[in-house]
């Protein structure tokens, strides 16, 4: 190869590279970007995204996130774009406050009529102008019937402080959920911003630390199924895996503490920056269609806010007061967006606790 050829080859290579960059970076006009939690959409029973593309011809770019905070941070800096996003309640409130979400045109979402009003109208979006409930659940306690005395469960969250179960107790591995339990135990609001109450809750957590086997998130499943631990706070929808006869351990039960429990509802929303709002609403409407919502509810196992899904689901699940508790009869509280100082305070105490 002579010099001239080499130079042309180099230039061609560079040109290809340059074409590659914007080519991959710009999204197709016909593509919706959807952000959801990992493992939170059916891809086995009817494969929701594939079904949507097959019916409408609209491609879905499906991306997943691990926490409300990380996706919020990146969206607010502007490093990610999305058309549809499914964050939790308090994050919906925060994103509405910062103008990141668009008001929905409900004439494009006729299937919204199926959504049970129990799960709409919460403080973070009182008129549901911005958000459509997708899945909901509450926190509670998983316990192993073989080792845990059911009488002790009547103490509610206090059982996680019971010396009898020392080193067989698991705790949430994030400050917000862990503090919520301590605050509920003390009878405070799980959204408290009172520094004294937070300090008292932190003292409870520090007191509990010697009894805790580990601070975990998804390891709860294996540890409870294999009886490595006997008590763990987690979400009621996870009974579908943990208490399952085949995949899980039928000796594990779930109980709803008598004190306040955290109610969460993850909602589908549309970005205020989206230029495909109609398509995004079409997708949300699709998620609210009975067959799609049923597939998602069966795959994920969390509570569906969809009234028809309740009837279509296996009645053993939909009539189970643990899977579908009557939240009006319980003392439930949803998370609010905490002020920055409170979050900082929680982080400081949390770091001290984990040292």
């Amino acid at each position: 190869m002579n010099k001239k050829h080499r130079l042309t080859a180099l230039l061609v290579a560079l040109a290809i590279l340059l074409c590659l960059l914007p080519g991959c970076a710009t999204a197709d006009e016909n593509t919706l970007i959807v952000y959801n939690w990992g493992e939170y959409l059916d891809d086995e029973i009817m494969d929701v995204n594939a079904a949507f593309t097959a019916e409408t011809g609209i491609e879905i770019k499906y991306l997943t996130f691990d926490s409300n905070e990380s996706v919020y941070a990146m969206a607010s800096i502007g490093s990610i774009d999305f058309d549809v996003i499914i964050p939790s309640d308090y994050m919906v409130g925060k994103m509405i406050g910062e103008g990141m979400l668009a008001k929905l045109d409900y004439s494009h979402i006729p299937n919204y009529k199926h959504i049970d009003p129990t799960y709409t109208g919460w403080d973070f979006d009182p008129q549901n102008e911005y958000s459509v409930p997708y899945m909901w659940g509450i926190t509670g306690i998983f316990y192993n019937k073989k080792y845990v005395d059911e009488a002790d469960l009547e103490a509610g969250w206090d059982i996680l402080w019971n010396e009898k179960y020392k080193k067989n107790i698991l705790m949430f591995n994030n400050p917000r959920d862990a503090f919520a339990i301590a605050e509920a135990k003390l009878g405070y609001s799980i959204n408290t911003t009172n520094e004294d109450e937070i300090a008292a809750a932190a003292a409870e957590l520090i007191k509990q630390k010697p009894l805790v086997q580990a601070y975990v998130m998804d390891q709860v499943y294996d540890k409870m199924i294999n009886e490595e631990a006997w008590l763990a706070p987690y979400y009621n929808g996870d009974m579908a895996i943990i208490c399952d006869v085949e995949e899980g351990n039928p000796d594990v039960g779930f109980c709803i503490p008598k004190q306040t429990v955290n109610f969460f509802v993850d909602c589908a929303c549309v970005s205020s920056k989206s230029n495909k709002k109609d398509l995004a609403e079409m997708y949300i409407d699709f998620l609210c269609r009975s067959d799609v919502a049923l597939a998602n509810a069966e795959y994920v196992g969390y509570g569906s806010p969809h009234s028809e899904v309740r009837q279509l689901l296996d009645p053993e699940v939909s009539n189970d007061p643990l899977y579908y508790p009557d939240i009006n009869a319980l003392s439930v509280e949803a998370y609010n967006t905490l002020p920055d100082e409170t979050n900082r305070l929680l982080d400081v105490w949390w770091t001290k606790l984990k040292q």
Binding site: L21, A27, K61, T64, S79, I80, D218
Partner: protein
């Protein structure tokens, strides 16, 4: 004493490889459990190939790893040759500068690249009316960026070991500098270039923090996908895909070693033949 050192060696290897062995074993498990063995099955591999999200992220991960490793190797080797040719003072300055990104916490690199991309893209979109977005392109640039210093670190020692006069001799014999580089220098430093390439490839496969910060909404690497499963359950499909990745890297390494041994033998044979003559 010998027995003791053998036990020590076994322990070290056990610590290094036991987790991988367990991971591979449970990718063939018949149930979702990651602790209890329920019999052999390939169902996680079947599900894996049907899982579009994981397959798509695997594709992105491999493509970024291959492209970023190749490009970083080219740039890094050129840079190493350039730095090698500098005077001592300048060389020291450049090598120190090169070491900063290596020692820098990943999160700093990730966030600063993200802010740079966000700024640069919004500037370009405003002034030139382009429609750039963060995505595969920015992810690739980020990976090339953090790979380059490692390539330089691998190539520099080989350049130092090389006999300077070989290159000069080639020039004296009428070789053009460019072809002297390809015919004399490159073969001498090729093992360093190759280790640099492999290292860049594995570092890119491995990366989580920088990918999370720079991929935008255009692409998602495997590590980010796996991490997003953390609230729910990480399924054994993840074991299956990790096994496949581990297997392919292992095969790659074996191939490289076999090739190296083969070419060394060939070289020795040629030298022997030349000596006989």
């Amino acid at each position: 004493m010998k027995a003791l050192s053998r036990i020590y060696n076994t322990l070290i290897f056990l610590f290094l490889y036991a987790p991988i062995a367990v991971l591979i074993l449970f990718s063939f498990n018949d149930s979702k459990s990651r602790v209890v063995w329920n019999g052999f099955s390939l169902k996680w591999y079947e599900q894996l190939f049907g899982n579009e999200l994981i397959m798509e992220s695997l594709k992105v991960t491999l493509l970024v790893a291959v492209l970023s490793a190749l490009i970083a190797t080219v740039i890094g080797t050129m840079a190493a040759v350039g730095i090698h040719g500098m005077n001592r003072k300048l060389k020291k300055v450049f090598l120190t500068v090169n070491n900063i990104p290596v020692n820098n916490p990943e999160i700093v690199t990730g966030v600063s690249l993200m802010l740079l991309f966000v700024g640069a893209i919004s500037f370009m979109n405003h002034t030139f009316g382009t429609h750039f977005k963060m995505g595969f392109g920015t992810l690739l640039i980020a990976h090339i960026t953090f790979n380059i210093p490692y390539v330089i670190l691998q190539v520099m020692p080989k350049l130092r070991q090389m006999d300077e006069h070989l290159y000069e001799a080639a020039l004296d014999l009428g070789c053009h500098p460019v072809s002297a580089f390809f015919k004399v220098i490159l073969p001498e430093i090729s093992s360093g270039v190759f280790t640099g390439l492999l290292m860049a490839f594995t570092l890119s496969l491995d990366d989580f923090v920088i990918s999370l910060c720079t991929a935008g909404s255009g692409a998602q690497t495997l590590s980010v996908t796996i991490y997003s499963m953390i609230r729910r359950r990480v399924t054994p499909e993840v074991n299956a895909v990790s096994t496949l990745l581990f297997g392919s890297v292992l095969i790659l390494l074996i191939l490289v070693n076999v090739m190296q041994i083969y070419s060394e033998n060939k070289l020795k044979k040629e030298q022997r033949r030349a000596g006989v003559r």
